[in-house]
């Protein structure tokens, strides 16, 4: 960051003399620029848009990124100097045109000056570089973002002349563009909901368009809880389901594919089940029918009754099926938890319980497998797992109960044993005394 640090000194020196550097002052800025130039040499070696003839060591190039624009635009300069673009040698003029070596407004904002790009022009402006295979190749970046954008909901509205939709700069920032890996970036996983929520959480804007405030909905979902409360960066954000540059709501028939990217087992069972077969075209039950689209929630029994009733209101038998599956699952889970509680009791006795714990874990795994299996909405499919979990819980319970019972019995049996033992001693003594009585007269 030598460049950034050396910049104020140069500006001070250059600013007072309006660009006419006396030969005597040359060593200081020249030295500084040289150092900056050396650091940025790899970046400068690349072809630079809008600045076809970069000359870093020239005395007029005061700041490699922002040139002299920052003298009048300090806020933008500070933002821009931190951005990835500045690091890779993109200059102000690359987007805004004009001449960044001049301090005269007339010549700086002179020939080829674009000023602030209109919103509708932003995607094309970014695409001028980002769709160029040749320019993006060194960074191994995709070049299809602009094409994708044009297919997105945002892009299509923009094409129709609606400029109150997201363009590149709304999500990536204008001057302070950072790579998505940078935690400070707006496109960093943790920040994506807020970035999208800037518009989709603006209730007045969304009301005008007749859309729900999905940001708030998302923040109430299990996905948001996973992301923020547990810090799991693999939890899905907006872009996981809607796409990044091609952001659009998935078609009704595609919801299970979208959710199935992560919930593979659920999708497998869902596709094997009656709900999937019952779908006709785009109509029919899909993931969001029970779990909600943005407020994604685990299906709870109490919610379940409601969500089933959306379609099966008149069908008491089917409604009961859902309840039965839940009862089955919970009774199995209760058995397993009872076994776990019993293990704790056995620990206190103490009995050795390592392998009981292992079996309880196995039973819990079956229970976890039963949840995806429930998406097949068939009783016997779920029962395949719950039965095993329940029987393992039962086995562990009965084994521990047996052992605890044994422990209680032992001391009782010991008393009986002593009674028997004393009797035995008496019998043996009788034998011995009989033998002695008989033997003594023979003895010499």
């Amino acid at each position: 960051m030598t460049a950034t640090r050396s910049a104020p000194a140069i500006e001070h020196a250059g600013g007072g003399r309006r660009g006419a550097l006396a030969p005597g002052l040359l060593p200081l800025p020249a030295l500084a620029s040289l150092a900056a130039g050396l650091l940025l040499l790899p970046a400068l070696a690349l072809a630079q848009p809008g600045n076809p003839n970069p000359d870093a060591s020239a005395p007029t190039a005061v700041s490699p990124g922002s040139g002299r624009c920052g003298v009048c635009h300090p806020t933008e300069r500070v933002q821009f100097e931190k951005s990835q673009h500045a690091e890779e040698g993109v200059r102000c003029t690359s987007c805004h045109g004009g001449n960044d070596r001049s301090l005269e407004v007339a010549s700086a904002h002179g020939a080829g000056f674009r000023g602030r790009p209109a919103r509708k022009d932003v995607p094309a402006l970014c695409a001028s570089c980002h769709s160029s295979e040749a320019r993006m190749r060194p960074y191994n970046l995709p070049v299809d973002q602009h094409a994708l954008y044009q297919t997105s909901g945002h892009g299509r509205l923009l094409a129709r002349g609606d400029t109150r939709v997201a363009v590149c700069s709304d999500c990536h920032g204008a001057h302070d563009i950072l790579p998505p890996k940078d935690p400070a970036s707006r496109t960093f996983t943790l920040n994506i909901p807020r970035t999208c929520g800037a518009c989709h959480g603006d209730s007045t804007l969304m009301k005008q368009r007749g859309k729900p405030d999905v940001f708030r909905l998302y923040m109430g979902s299990v996905h948001a809880r996973e992301l923020y409360d547990r810090g799991n960066l693999r939890a899905p954000t907006c872009v996981s389901c809607h796409g990044v540059h091609g952001a659009a709501p998935p078609a009704l028939g595609d919801v299970d594919k979208v959710c199935g990217q992560c919930h593979t087992a659920e999708r497998r069972y869902f596709m094997a089940g009656g709900h999937y077969r019952a779908r006709s075209g785009d109509d029919g039950p899909e993931c969001a029918s029970c779990h909600e689209a943005h407020t994604v929630q685990a299906a709870q029994p109490e919610r379940l009754a409601g969500s089933c009733a959306q379609c099966h209101a008149k069908d008491a038998k089917t409604l009961a099926l859902g309840r039965r599956i839940w009862t089955d699952y919970h009774s199995a889970a209760d058995e397993v938890e009872k076994a776990a509680a019993l293990t704790a009791r056995a620990d206190a006795v103490p009995l050795q319980t390592d392998d009981y714990r292992a079996r309880i874990e196995e039973a819990r795994t079956y229970l976890r497998e039963a949840l995806p299996a429930a998406h097949a909405v068939q009783e016997d499919v779920v029962a395949g797992f719950t039965t095993r979990a329940r029987s393992m819980g039962h086995e562990v319970q009965s084994e521990i109960y047996g052992k605890l019972g044994h422990l209680r019995q032992r001391k009782f049996v010991l008393i009986l044993f002593w009674f028997y033992l004393l009797l035995t001693l008496l019998v043996l003594k009788r034998y011995r005394d009989q033998g002695a009585r008989k033997g003594s007269p023979d003895r010499p």
């Binding site: 390592d354 392998d355 010991l414 033992l421 011995r432 033998g435 033997g439 003895r443």
Partner: protein, 322 residues
Amino acid sequence: MSATRPPDPNGRASWVDWLERRINLSEIFSFLTHFGFVITPVDTSRPVREVLREVAETPVPKYASGPRVLGLLTAILFALEAVTGVLLAYYYKPTPEAAFESTRTIVRDLPAGWFLHQMHAWGAWLLAAVVVIRLLRLFWDGLYRAPREVLWWTAVAMVWLVLQLDFTGRLLTWDAHSYWATVRGMEVVFALPIAGPILAFLLGGRVVNDDVLIRFYALHVMVLPTFYAACVYFTFATLRRVGLSPAPEGRPEATTTFRDHLYTMLMLTVGLFGVLVTLATVLPFRFLSAADPYVTPGGVRPPWYMLAPYATLQWLPVPAWL
């Protein structure tokens, strides 16, 4: 107990006679005299019933009582250890992976497995106590002088063997306490100047791992019991040669019959069994968590017979001893 069965006075043919016509039972019985268990010469040309009656009526000193009983106890307890040990060995697997689990199966899951395990453990505890007390008694009564020096040597050897059996057997359960007690015990042994490296060589290294476990197992179930049995034989044989220890001074030597002696011994065994069962039920040895070579549990204490060296080593640095 057929040893005391007198001949049928009616002369009725029984299975004993039937067998006698084919095998010389007296000859087989006379083996016992070679081992020193029966202290009467046996005339092998006579039928076994007569021999048995004669043996049963042989007057013997009353040695199943008083301090003399200690020698008998070392043999009875050893027999008990052998029986329970063999039964335990049926299910025990001497590898670090399986040792703990197989012991747990025995102790927790097999019917009466806990009983055999605790009997073996408490029997070992009592045996160690008995051999040590016996040694003290022999010293107190001056029974180490000629002609009983062999008796003394075997008694010392038995103490040493029992302590080694205890030490090797302790590790086999491979639970946290037994493992760490062994590790600490081995550290003491390895600290010795000459014996340390030799033992390390014999036991397969200074680290208590699978090599050590299997060698301990071999020592525990084969080598040491064999030597112990030999010691028991030497004891009986020596007793036969030099006679029992003299009666306490000032008291006449009480005599009894061999039959009487056998009954007394049987009653002694039954009583001992009762004591062991009580101990095994009321005060079971703990067996909880599996040994983890990377976690040392607190409260690991050496067995009682090692407490004195342990205390010494705590206060005196090891080199001072050497």
